[in-house]
Symmetry: D2
Subunit: 399 residues, 4 copies
């Protein structure tokens, strides 16, 4: 089957050619001293991107591994977890809590809304025995963002550990576990960071390590164990098992690119493109999925499927006629919305114009009344100050 | 220095990732039987793309090598060449004719015009001793096209050999040396074919071979010799010197892609995008460089630099602010026009929208009054029947 | 730090350039129809390499994930597992059993020995309530092989489910879950198959699926769950979470290569090189680690560290002086042995000669008395019938 | 057709993976400022490898282009050239001289011999009107070396310009146009430098430029013109025509590697491997082609085809049975000798051992009596001081 011309989906994202070249380096034996050095160096880049002094752990599996590992490593049977749910991925975390013996208290909002910190405050005050709070920073299925910094502060004041799913947040927003009071953060390379999928990028606070060590018994000798990485990699520069060598090459390249641009300009770039994308979508007469623009995230723009067309028709047409792959709704949201991705390499005016143009043309082909050019025009209008301040230039880096 | 995000220039063009992967295969010894086979196979693909039964020769140097080789191999001192000049590249051929002892008769038109076959007829009738006629099919510096089929017929009727520079023509238009009465055709991989620069792709008619053999003495043992390739490669499957192994890998990949799409749909795709590009440019209030749209070519769209902006300002702004590299005017045309390239991978709606959007935004940034979105909108309007008939789908191929 | 010139270690192995090129294809969105097709196609290649009609599952984490997932998915609290231990990796499985509530009965032999099927028979007869038997096919740390086919038959006769770690076995030996009565097999791409690390390649028998479904409750919604893959991928062509797209590209290339050579010739090639390696090692006056050659495996050749030299000296010297990376002893075997790897691309006379030559030269440099050339000579002597029957030629494949 | 496992031929050589990755970077438009910078930077690396202050020119065609360009650019009709001939390539230069109107005086020796500087002195004294002396530094077809430094001095003393074919010399020996009194040097990337074929790497002395400018008329507007590069690139940072973008990427990577190792250690490495190769060959009872070892070069080792076997049998067997490609005799030397290449990446003990081992095994297979291991053993014996002094380590570099 033919491959698409361009991917502008919700992740895994299209990565740059330099990431692909990095990934095609010869596979080293994991105990080759050059690889041990390389892994160490990559970890230190990750610390810089996370703007943290906490330990970072690179788990060798896609981000759901990191999320489950957090639950499995932190929870004793019966431990209470306040799970904040504003979308499909937030709801998923409940499964990990229950699988690993925890008890869920849920604070939920509709899937086009964001969590209100005041509600968190009230709920925690009602449940003083909550041990862990879990929240999704960037709800990719909904294209929304939660106020994690405020939530983290509230939790910290009450001695509650905070686990944050920032899988599609890191890179697209400026954050720091210390500033935001996050105890366990889980990011993915395959979203805003512009790398390939297959790793969980974690930051772990001292308090979280202590909690893991207090668990009875501490979770060790498991693919789900974070302590295994502490005992081997962090303390002895050994691996608990064979890491995914090629993916580490790719990750290093992606992280290095973020740092070369600068963490703040890199995020500003995502914010600017996301804002322009929303302007483009609205100018086409489409309706954004998030209840308010102030809670729309920088990773993807979620849009109501317009009347008279199905999600599958639109996405199928865009791909088969114009070779552009976007995403539909996920889980409960299937059929209700479609999503334009603008992460990593795609966080660029050229990419945005291309995908909006193909969207416009496709809507017109399918009989939805659009003024061709209106979406791209509105997006360009919003990009008057590109590249965003601090971001030296609008170009990509290549060796 | 940072590299551009996207290249939409007059060639070398940005190539597909599969061409790059092909090019990164291990370098074989040129007499490895696998390479000899591979070169043979690549030559046979070239024959199919040229739609010819004539011999094809892949000279191991950029297209100007092929052009000079044609002059050097065909001409005896004093031979008369009717050189048709409708642009910078047409004028260049005079240098090769003179260098190799020929005598030039020039038929020239302004550089935004095309050659009129009736003028060719008249000129040849006035100069019955002309041996060779030379003409540029696609004048990349001007974005224009010459009526080579008609000119070829006129020359053939008079026993004149025709040398055609179709460097940026092959792939973008459907042609055949036999149908168009071309004796020596020279194409480049780095234009519509979507490959890298460094080779001359030639088709040679039996009459041209005879003329080369009648030359006194025949040109042999030279980098400029076509007969060397006939004597060695065509007749003995040996090489006159070491070929550029990696470039042959890339060429094979590019040619295979053209044939998978189909020579006719592949050209139709270029025509459709070129037409849409012109609509986009006009909708922005810009003026096309070619005197009439009927002579605009499919490779690049040449546009008058608008008043109040310089060519360098515009191109510099597009690259430094938005990472998009386009071309300026070349030679005598420097400063007068700029050129949007839409060859190979760039002959796609997504690429066209991206470059027009960046053009619009840049014009606005520089104070030229544009209605943002107007150019992309007009282009999309013109692409209502994408992909053009016969072309199965609008996607790119990747293994 | 400089990278080695050549890797001949115990895995991850050096992969071919075509695997690297495959891995450097653009990252697709996992729900792009082209990727769904590609994953399906890769799974079908894996079935052919496993010579099985059972379901295959490609877990998205290194082989220890597959092993833990087998334990986690099959075992209810208190279930008895007969764990056969002939090396470091065999012993490891005990940890997974205990972590997931099982009870271990151990049958162990020294780490240079293989399990005797008669002992297995006796032990199972003594423990009629054993639910699962676990065994390592190829004990990479010891360079030994266990008689899995016989053990599988014994277990099947007693209604015991068999879990086999064939991480470094598949590809290096011809096996089939059906013929060998294996219920859950776990292989790794990064060993004899010549791919990169990061995946668990599993075959699951109907009986194993039933046992997983009978578990109370069935393990679902976990990175350790095999049923998640049955429910989503096998039944609905959906993914339980994002797969490691790039690694699937690489795996497909590696599997395709095995099938192009042929599963049997591919394994025969490994056997021939392993035999030649042992001859080479013995001719240098070194002592093989396995108690008898009949239990030496095809993946690596384990060798006693000779007196007067340390393992680290030897390996360090080979790498720093000659750029060749080999492996030392692992876990309890550290310092006692070193290992020459000859898997995948390295299962070739040229690679074997190179690593033996560097070994010889290094031993001499370190004062160990060797007749230079003796090891390579003996290895070459043993390769008189290369390539092994059925294997068309001794070359590598490249596009 | 299957590709070989390993190439150890006379060039193009197998290049490193980093060169291949460099070559697979996106193709830039040649007037993209990043490419202009890159070309400039690459030229400056070439100057360092040539250890020269002279201008360097990178002609965009394989080394025969550079050789012909030297003749074409320097010679007026009737100019006398003393052509030193010690092999097939030396003889070839006569063709270029004659094609471009020069008159050849030949000083020849048998093709297993080297030029004696005393003979050069005598001949030049007999022909005081010689304008240009031409000599091949490393005669790849013969595996021999000429004493260019002494010859250059002799020519300079007599005001004769010296053109040196160091296509397979640069990198394998330490040279400098200034120190050796070379006026025009021509090297190739595809030999000791470890790059791909397709470029001529030239150094041009001020005296040579002057001679070219005095030619009547100076050669301009031709693919054979060196002055075109002076007028455009050297003076205006413009290109006379489109350069082979991808090959420049590869060249830069190869040159950078040489400089990272150090020009002297890099050459010492070639010398050490060549010496070891000769020891290996002799230990197998084979006879070296060069009349004396003192004139054997560092690029390839030429060996008499032993009685009872043909060149084609041996080479065919090595490739079809063991996947190793070596070279035969070229031109007049066809059938008389075979050649083991040890340039670039292949100038390494592991590569040498691999090719000698396959040679040994193949000779034995074909009935030639060899003691298996004797060749590799003798080579290893000769490598007791690897890596040669000044060369930090025996490893390859990779990012």
């Amino acid at each position: 089957m033919e491959w698409p011309f361009m991917t502008a989906a919700s992740g895994p994202v299209e990565v740059t050619d330099e990431v692909l070249r990095a990934q095609s380096r010869p596979v080293l034996y994991h105990y080759d001293p050059a690889f041990v050095d390389f892994f160490d160096h990559t970890s230190s880049l990750l610390k810089q991107v996370y703007r943290t002094q906490y330990d970072v752990v690179i788990l060798q599996g896609e981000a759901v591994l990191g999320l489950e590992a957090a639950a499995a490593s932190l929870l004793d049977p019966g431990d209470k977890v306040l799970n904040l749910v504003s979308g499909v991925f937030g709801k998923w975390f409940e499964l990990y809590v229950e699988r690993h013996g925890g008890q869920v208290i849920e604070l939920a909002v509709p899937y086009n809304e964001a969590i209100d910190p005041a509600d968190v405050e009230r709920t925690l005050d009602r449940h003083p025995d909550v041990k862990v709070l879990s929240v999704v920073h960037s709800e990719t299925p909904s294209g929304t963002i939660n106020p994690v910094a405020e939530i983290g502060r509230i939790a910290r004041e009450r001695g509650v550990l905070t686990v944050v799913d920032t899988v599609s947040g890191l890179g697209g927003e400026v954050l720091s576990p210390e500033e935001w009071n996050i105890d366990v953060a889980v990011a993915g390379p395959q979203k805003c960071l512009g790398g390939p999928p297959g790793l969980s990028l974690m930051a772990v606070s001292p308090a979280a390590w202590e909690a893991m060590q207090r668990r009875k018994p501490p979770l060790r000798s498991s693919f789900l164990s974070l302590l295994d990485w502490k005992d081997t990699w962090l303390e002895q520069r050994r691996f608990p098992y064979t890491p995914s060598v090629s993916l580490i090459y790719a990750l290093e390249s992606a992280l290095r690119h973020v740092l070369e641009v600068g963490v703040e300009p890199y995020a500003a770039r995502h914010a600017a493109i996301a804002r322009a994308c929303r302007e483009g979508v609205k100018a086409l007469g489409l309706r954004l999925w998030p209840a308010r623009e102030s809670i729309a995230g920088n990773a993807v723009t979620a849009v109501h499927v317009p009347d008279g067309i199905t999600d599958e028709q639109l996405r199928g047409h865009m791909r088969s006629r114009y070779g552009v792959m976007i995403s539909g709704g996920y889980g409960e949201l299937a059929g209700k919305l479609f999503r334009l991705g603008h992460m990593g390499k795609a966080a660029h005016p050229a990419y945005l114009a291309a995908q909006l143009a193909v969207l416009e043309r496709s809507l017109a082909d399918l009989g939805f009344p659009v003024k061709l050019g209106a979406g791209v025009g509105a997006a360009l209008e919003a990009l008057g100050d590109w590249p965003p301040g601090g971001c030296s230039e609008g170009r990509s880096r290549r060796p």
